[in-house]
Symmetry: C2
Subunit: 197 residues, 2 copies
């Protein structure tokens, strides 16, 4: 097996990359500037060495604390709970939220052996004891597992006497009623918003 075939195999182990795309990537690298290969190779190694979870929120960072937890301009009384670091990155990208986060690292899924312990929910509760929050936004995915996790969080967070909200579910902007999923339509009806006339 040549390096070429081996690298195609390695690339095709990544999500969303089949054999054909992997081959395309490898042939592209062969023709591209060697600097691209060098940077890729170097940063892939660095990634595993330098990136670790933030000691407070669990977000990926190169330091002890992530950029958000160590930013004094963020509103520390507003906490958003997400499943994954990438969800945090998506929320950050819309520039609409100025609070802090907590990254669970997954959602409750008994079949995969993911329970409250594995998600660090006990640690989250301890974190909340030390902070004075005015609101917790539950931003798990609108999936069966995400909703289960949200319900569980609601149950354990209720006694803290903090305002708890969750992200609205409904029609995607630019979407079409005709093509909306049934459950999406049900949620957008149940969560309908009053016009203030």
């Amino acid at each position: 097996v040549t390096v070429l075939d081996q690298l195609i195999k390695d690339f095709s182990r990544l999500p969303g990359i089949g054999n054909k795309s992997a081959a395309r990537l490898v042939y592209y690298l062969l023709k591209a500037d060697p600097k691209l290969s060098e940077k890729l190779s170097e940063n892939i190694l660095k990634l595993k060495k330098c990136i670790r979870p933030c000691a407070v929120c669990g977000n990926y960072t190169e330091n002890e604390l992530c950029g958000i937890c160590s930013d004094s301009s963020r509103d520390k009384s507003l906490l958003c709970i997400v499943e994954q670091s990438q969800d945090l990155a998506v929320i950050e990208s819309v520039n609409e939220y100025n609070g802090v986060y907590h990254v669970l690292g997954g959602c409750i899924s008994p079949l995969d052996g993911m329970g409250p312990e594995q998600l660090g929910i006990p640690a989250l509760l301890k974190r909340l004891d030390k902070e004075s929050l005015r609101e917790i936004i539950i931003a798990t995915n609108p999936t069966v597992e995400g909703d289960t996790t949200a319900l569980y969080l609601l149950k354990v967070l209720k006694e803290k006497n903090i305002r708890i909200t969750r992200l609205a579910s409904g029609l995607p902007v630019g979407g079409d009623l005709e093509y909306a999923g049934k459950l999406t339509l049900v949620r957008s009806l149940k969560g309908r918003i009053e016009y203030n006339l």
Copy 2:
């Protein structure tokens, strides 16, 4: 900029990988077995160092000659001319061809500065002088540039007095007349095949 952001940027420079796919790859690597990252990183570097063009046909190889040129069981009197190494790999994958190849490294495209010199066609002619061929198959892509290249090759190869063929163009197997491109239909009509009754 963290390594994480930098690696997302590096990945998104690869073909067919946008920002979102790049982020997905990076977050996948963060959670995956470190061995995958190590192998990827290592093989990307190795690729550029170990892979070079075969001295005879131009196919990518780790040695002086590629596996096909150095394989004594291949029919050296049958030559298939392709644009790229990946075209060669596709033809090999169907196990239907037992001849040898010549890789042009592209196709004639004056706007991109690709002429017969850049494609090594003079070198190809020299190679042919040394070999006794019974057939040359032109397997450039059925695109404007590929067809131009095929016509040019036909012109310079004609005087060698060797049988010259080209890959058939027509309806893709499993395809639908209704959805076939007009030019594809024209070609499949012109190249129609007689039933031997």
